[in-house]
Subunit: 355 residues, 2 copies
DNA sequence: CCGATCTATGTCATCGTTTACATTGCCCTT
DNA sequence: AAGGGCAATGTAAACGATGACATAGATCGG
């Protein structure tokens, strides 16, 4: 008597097995699972009973193959460890889940090659939609679009000639307000530490920075603008270069393009004995919860990350329902809380879109 | 002449179209894509040429259906916004990607119902393996196992009678060391703020806390142990209750079970004018990078999250290669850096397993 | 009581691959 | 020159579900 071979994979039960046990045809079983009202209740319950008894689980692969549509989306993000993007992910996930879709998660690490591979893989998996934070405006989504596969781009736009739905956050304006405020505070040597040049949001924040200085009639010192990796290490490196320059006027304020970089920047300040907010005013994109713990607290720009994900998910749902419609762009607003620490005001545009 | 209907989904090209164009049979095309050496190089390149010309992308669904195996894993985690778990995710993702698997990401929000739904969905999608941080020890994975579908449980064990590979972090020991140290520092009113009772790691950390006090011959005050949600809100609530009790000896130290809770706890301290490290010693599980920014810096327990994910992925790969083998449990070590701020020492066990 | 109508269910081709098996040449050996 | 062996490719039956169409039985009006 052989011991029970637990790991010998048993043949999975199929719709045919259920049909046999319930003494009906496979078509009837299929109809029962599709809740077709034409099936007599007695038959239906017999089928259900049989299915339960056999532990039948429908094969989504077979169904998708036959129906020529799948119920999963590919979510391609640049960095799974970036809290901003995890919040986006959660927003997408909630919408997907409540509409019955699954999410295939892909992490590109800001590498165009990984991105291209994942786009290809999304196509192979025949997902019914793709949501992406592209590594650059020229991400190879053309082929997907040519096949009519809906693409939603999040946080960063694609080439304007591509017909893709887009959800953005107006970070240029937020950057400008932040620098406006630094100037109002009397700061003059204002620096900007941002992400890789290729990344839209990184450049956009520099643009806002420039606009503010320009408008105030202040000179723009290219030495004060640093492009670095969108992480702690990048922030550290940029801050080190920025603060280590001998014989120049000391930096009085820094606009930092995301919360991961901010950690690195703040570490460097600390190592150099500079007090954030006091010696160097700091404004950071992303309202990481820990920023409030510093004394005095540093300023943050609130980005509606969860809403971004939600809106993206809803745009995709919408496009799946009514395919032919023209591409839409939704712009959400980043908010810089007022100086007096009042909470960020509710934004009319955002709430309207989240309906 | 009708305008080009961009969104009219064109019929996807299949292996048959490629075969026709290359003037071979579908079998040959299939063989070319499987790099079968039996195909004559001339034929192979003709096929490849045809495929490229038609923009052919293989249909993974059909392939999986036919081959009765898929190349995706389900990754079911409790909270996508928990940095510990995102690091785990990245560890899994890296292993999966380099072995050619895709990840279907599922976020349970610590809700057993969502977890059950996702387990079911994993079965429907015929993933070839499941990695999970279960919401409780009784998560319904039985059916998956009965089908021979490999399950790897991460960070939290399942019922010991289930034959699943397990990767854990010895957080009980780490908790004990942390409390040992608080005691050595002369603290006596030591509290513990942890996650939901049902969650293994939450209870485990309390156990370590108890062991330390017991061993030191100190009394255990149940009022000092708080179970709360594993997030900022939970930490805030627990700390409020803990520090708001009138007429009792003030709390001198708190062991906090994760970094998200720590934010809430530290906010409450701040609101109450208590200085972390000085008035109340704080030790936190998870080495969130921002913890080093506080002055004086609070202590953290380093959990090898990325390695946890990596090991889990490797265990799954291993099991897929050689199915019958008995279930294994790997225990990783959490480390509490020495008082003098020296970096966490390299752990022999961990490095051996990561080989 | 017959045909029309309707209801409940069955038949079977199909989705796009893979792969066991069959087939076709060709070369080589004796 | 016949036949064995091999290399390269073709044929066709799966995989598991769906749904257009067919069919059998019940119901009903005249």
């Amino acid at each position: 008597m052989a011991p029970p071979q637990f790991c010998e994979r048993p043949a999975l039960t199929t719709i045919r097995d259920v049909a046999r046990l319930a003494e009906v045809s496979t078509a009837t079983v299929s109809r029962v699972f599709a809740s077709d009202p034409a099936v007599r209740p007695a038959t239906a319950s017999r089928v259900r009973e049989a299915a339960k008894q056999l532990g039948y689980v429908p094969n989504t692969l077979a169904r998708s193959l036959r129906q020529q549509t799948s119920t999963s989306w590919a979510l391609i993000i640049a960095d799974i460890e970036n809290p901003f993007l995890t919040q986006v992910t959660r927003g997408v996930e909630d919408v997907a889940q409540s509409a019955g879709y699954s999410l295939v998660l892909c992490n590109t690490d800001e590498q165009p090659e990984k991105e291209a591979a994942y786009l290809n893989s999304a196509e192979q998996y025949r997902v019914s939609g793709v949501l992406i934070t592209p590594t650059s405006a020229t991400s190879p989504v053309d082929q997907l679009l040519a096949r009519g596969l809906p693409v939603i781009t999040m946080d960063r736009p694609l080439r304007p000639d591509l017909a893709v739905d887009t959800v953005l956050i107006d970070s240029r304006r937020a950057a400008r307000s932040a620098v406006d405020r630094m100037i109002a505070h009397g700061r003059r040597q204002i620096a900007c530490i941002t992400g890789p040049r290729r990344v839209f949001t990184a450049s956009e924040r520099v643009l806002g920075y420039r606009e503010s200085l320009l408008e105030a009639g202040l000179p723009i010192d290219e030495q004060l603008i640093h492009y670095a990796a969108f992480n702690e290490q990048g922030g550290r490196q940029a801050a080190d270069e920025l603060l280590g320059r001998p014989g120049v006027a000391p930096v009085e304020a820094i606009l930092v393009a995301n919360s991961m970089m901010a950690v690195g920047v703040l570490q460097v300040l600390r190592e150099r004995g500079l007090r954030p907010s006091v010696d160097v005013e700091i404004v950071v994109f992303d309202d990481a919860p820990w920023t409030g713990l510093l004394t005095p607290a540093i300023s943050v720009i609130h980005q509606p990350a969860y809403e971004l994900g939600q809106v993206a998910g809803k745009l995709l749902l919408d496009r799946l329902r009514t395919p032919g419609q023209p591409a839409r762009t939704v712009m959400l607003t980043a908010t810089l809380p007022a100086d007096d620490d009042s909470p960020p005001r509710d934004d009319a545009l955002t709430t309207a879109l989240l309906g």
